[in-house]
Structures are given as C-alpha cells and as structure tokens.
C-alpha cells in the first residue's frame, strides 16, 4: 500500500565510518521528508525532497530522491557521536517509516 520501508532497522558504526539508510516505497512519492530523533528526544525535521533525482546536502549529510520517486536515501559521511539517533523517512504526516537507529562508538 502506501507504507514506506526503511532499512536497516539498526546500524552500529565506528566513529569516522560512513552510514546510509534507505527508504523504499512501492508507489510513487510526491515528496519525502526526513526526521532525526535523538535518544530521549522528539523527531526534528531535517529535509524535504520533491524532485525526481534530487540531491541535497547538509554538511556531512547527503539526501537523495530516486529518479522514479519510489526511494530515498540518507548518507552520513564520517559519522560522529553527535549523529546518534533514529532517522525516519515520511511520505506524509500520516505515514512514517519505522526508522533506522544509528549508534556510534568512539
């Protein structure tokens, strides 16, 4: 249906390693939003992608929207301990992915 699937569910990396989480949909997305939730905190909006093939960067974070607008990814270069948290994609306010929880060891 309209669900979005996120993989992996959990990821542990050493500080300095890269990290990628993927968000997939069986149907075309009009847009995709990404949120980050720190442990014990609430989700905070990171970015929205709207155009096919769109790529946006925020410092070490790179967000991509697939050409077919059915998938998206978030890539973090050289992770830091401040990147710890759960990353959610959302196709609308009604439909969130289950999130990818990132842990980073120094």
């Amino acid at each position: 249906g309209q669900q979005v699937m996120q993989i992996p569910q959990y990821q542990h990396v050493q500080e300095g390693e890269d990290f990628t989480t993927y968000c997939n949909s069986s149907t075309t997305l009009s847009n995709i939003q990404w949120y980050k939730q720190r442990p014990g905190g609430h989700p905070v909006f990171l970015i929205q992608l709207v155009k096919s093939g769109e790529v946006k960067k925020q410092k070490r974070l790179t967000f991509q929207f697939g050409e077919a607008k059915k998938n998206s990814s978030l890539h973090i270069t050289a992770t830091q301990t401040t990147d710890v948290g759960t990353y959610f994609c959302a196709r609308t306010a009604l439909i969130f992915g289950k999130g990818t929880t990132l842990s980073v060891s120094s």
Partner: protein, 114 residues
C-alpha cells in the same frame, strides 16, 4: 516557526485510571494537529489527526480518544487506561495547506501504565 507545548513530560498511571494529555501550539493559526505513539525503540504510529476545531480523524481503533476544543489545543484522553497504552506520546503540528509542510513535534510524554 511553530512551538509545541506538551505536558506532562512523564506520567505513571494505574491500569483503569483516566488520562488527559494536552498539547498547545504557538506561532501558527489553523494548524493540522497530530497525536502519535511510539513504543520503546519503535517507529511512530499515528493515532489521531485534526484539520480544524472539533474535527478528529482516528487512524487506529483503540482505547483512546482525542478532542480539539480550540484552534491550537489538542487533547488526548482515555476513560480507562490499559497496560498496552504505555508508550511515548508525541503531539505534532503542521501548517494548514499543502502536504509539503514540515511537522513540528512537542517534547513528548512518557506514559507508563502499571
């Protein structure tokens, strides 16, 4: 930008007791309002959303109800709590209009039903 006030931050309630969680919004008018529940280590489950005063849509049949008595006030209630109602409850707001508006979340209420 919008500010979401949500209280209390933590709550411990016995099974069978009533519940009332309140959320108020600043910085916008006529927002779309949402209640989510998040089980430990899990994703966000949408419980209710509202596009205006007195308008409530329920996404999941459950032991909870919601009300919107004022434009920027959203209340989550239960007459009798169940153990399964435990979780992290989040209120969120989004500007009325297109679905491209981002969500602003409150700081959440950690509810433990014992």
């Amino acid at each position: 930008s919008q500010t979401i006030h949500q209280w209390p931050a933590t709550l411990v309630q016995p099974v069978g007791s009533p519940l009332s969680l309140e959320c108020t919004v600043e910085g916008t008018s006529n927002p779309n309002l949402y209640w989510y529940r998040q089980a430990a280590g899990r994703g966000l489950q949408l419980l209710f959303y509202s596009v205006g005063i007195g308008q409530i849509s329920s996404e999941v049949p459950q032991n909870l109800s919601a009300s919107r008595p004022q434009d920027r006030q959203f209340i989550l209630s239960s007459k009798k709590l169940l153990l399964s109602d435990s979780g992290f409850y989040l209120c969120a707001s989004r500007g009325a209009g297109t679905t491209n508006e981002k969500l602003f979340f409150g700081s959440g209420t950690q509810l433990s039903v014992l």
